[in-house]
Amino acid sequence: MRDILAFDIQVPLSPFSLVVKGEVDPGVTAILGPSGSGKTTLLRCLAGLTRPAAGWIRFRGRNLFSSTDGVFVPPERRNVGYVPQQYALFPRLTVFGNVEYGLKARRVPARQRHEHVRDMLKRMGIEHLASRMPGSLSGGEAQRVALARAMVLNPDYILLDEPLAALDPQTRHHIREFLRSVLKEASCPVLCVTHDLEDVRHLADRVMVLREGRIVFEGRVEEWVREGPPPEDGEREAADLENKGAFDNETEIES
């Protein structure tokens, strides 16, 4: 059985519908596309937060969603690592409490739980923040906590929604390097929605380009650089794609 996440789903959106079919191999797949092209909706469907109108989602052959069989596995039973754009740390829990939250929900015994949390905090280099409240963290620290909270559960697949967008450029550079090493270790399928070509260059193995709810390109990063879809008139993404040529520069497109 292959270690992959596969999907073929339809979600009505306005003004167009999301109609996508694909497979996500282990490693990092960047999802590119203009605002409103359905990137976040795709992520939400895979997380189980949005229920597609039709189609199926499978992980290692297990149906997570299937409209024909009437299967819909809710997010709490998917074993997914989901990091939303603003990190969404629980404001009333300490950093330790945040990372511990999912283990508690899974009824991991306290002793084991504390051990896992401590290990994860150490791995993320944030053990010194354990007793801090989220409100007092910097953007980069919060990002690490959110990542630790998702990764401590050893998820089957990881979904990152613009993981670096909320950071200032210097921190972003730092965290990107860090993210790369962490995701490499995880060795499970990772989907990462982004607007930033630097993210694609440094983090991704593969690229999936969405436009108006359709996948217009899917392939390895090198292939995308060589033969990605041509820019279209009046499209924000045109700027992204034109900048491919200047791939080595610090290129960054605002959302």
Binding site: G48, L49, P74, R77, R78, Y82, Q86, R92, A105
Partner: protein
């Protein structure tokens, strides 16, 4: 003929005059502005003070109308003690009923998408705000009275609600529920949706997410709503009077007791009134402390 230095000297003098005049205008304008602002605030404060006095004087006279000795003596009277005890018991029960039945509804209204008939539900929840308590009492009697819509079936089972302590609780819950549900709903709606979604992806189901995340986060709003509902239940008069009657020790709560004993035992009425006012201010104080503590 003026030479060059004369010219420049007169220019300087002219500049100086212009500058002075500008300064004078600016000062005059400032003075006018501050003057008009201060006169506005003076007038507003003067009028506002009348209202404050109007609110304060009755409270003050209530406290001045009875000496501490007479206050304590009245506290020992049966009618006062029974009313106090009954009020505490019934309003506590009413609050419990309101919280148990109001919390789930408030949560659903906060998180569910608009559904058909939602406007009707909203209107129903505003009902206790807009109906006079006497009307509520009459309506309760028509529903749960011996001949009432529901009451006639209850009577067959041997349950008679009107003119019982249970009727007091029902009247108070009817009046207090809207305050609690509105406040609780706002509190639940203010919980960040993203936190709830993350909680779900972390393996916490809807129940666990509700009890471990939404309920604790919304708690300050729930407490404020509960306090408002309790205050309303404690002060309930009209609906209780019509639906539960006015029997000492059974349905005669503090407001009813004040009304009943006012003519023959003013001290007792004053004592009950002072207790109610102290409880009210105590509640306000507690809530403000709570808000400071939680923010």
């Amino acid at each position: 003929m003026m030479n060059r230095s004369d010219q420049s000297r007169s220019a300087i003098r002219r500049d100086g005059r212009v500058r002075e005049r500008k300064k004078w205008f600016a000062a005059r304008r400032r003075a006018l502005e501050t003057q008009s602002a201060s006169s506005l605030s003076a007038v507003e404060w003067a009028i506002g003070l009348v209202l404050l006095l109007f609110l304060f004087l009755p409270v003050l006279s209530l406290f001045l109308s009875v000496t501490p000795q007479r206050f304590l003596a009245a506290l020992g009277e049966d009618v006062v003690r029974e009313a106090l005890g009954l009020s505490v018991r019934t309003s506590g029960m009413a609050l419990l009923v309101v919280v148990i039945f109001g919390t789930p509804l408030a949560h659903r209204l906060a998180v569910d998408r608009p559904f058909p008939g939602r406007a009707a539900v909203e209107a129903l929840l505003q009902l206790p705000w807009i109906t006079p308590p006497a009307v509520a009492g009459l309506a309760l009697l028509m529903a749960f009275g011996r001949e009432g819509l529901v009451g006639r079936y209850l009577a067959e089972w041997g349950v008679a609600l009107p003119f019982s302590t249970a009727a007091v609780v029902i009247a108070q819950a009817f009046e207090g529920s809207a305050f609690y549900v509105q406040s609780a709903r706002q509190a639940f709606a203010a919980v960040d949706r993203q936190l709830i979604e993350v909680s779900r992806t972390l393996g916490a189901g809807p129940w666990r997410t509700f009890f471990r995340l939404e309920l604790p986060t919304a708690m300050p709003g729930l407490v404020v709503g509960a306090a408002m509902a309790w205050a309303r239940a404690l002060g309930e008069f009209g609906a209780t009077m019509l639906f539960a009657g006015n029997m000492q020790g059974v349905t005669q709560t503090m407001p009813l007791a004040i009304y009943t004993v006012m003519e023959r035992d003013l001290d007792a009425a004053l004592t009950l009134a002072i207790v109610l006012i102290l409880v009210g201010f105590g509640l306000l104080w507690l809530l403000s402390r709570l808000r400071q503590h939680l923010s």
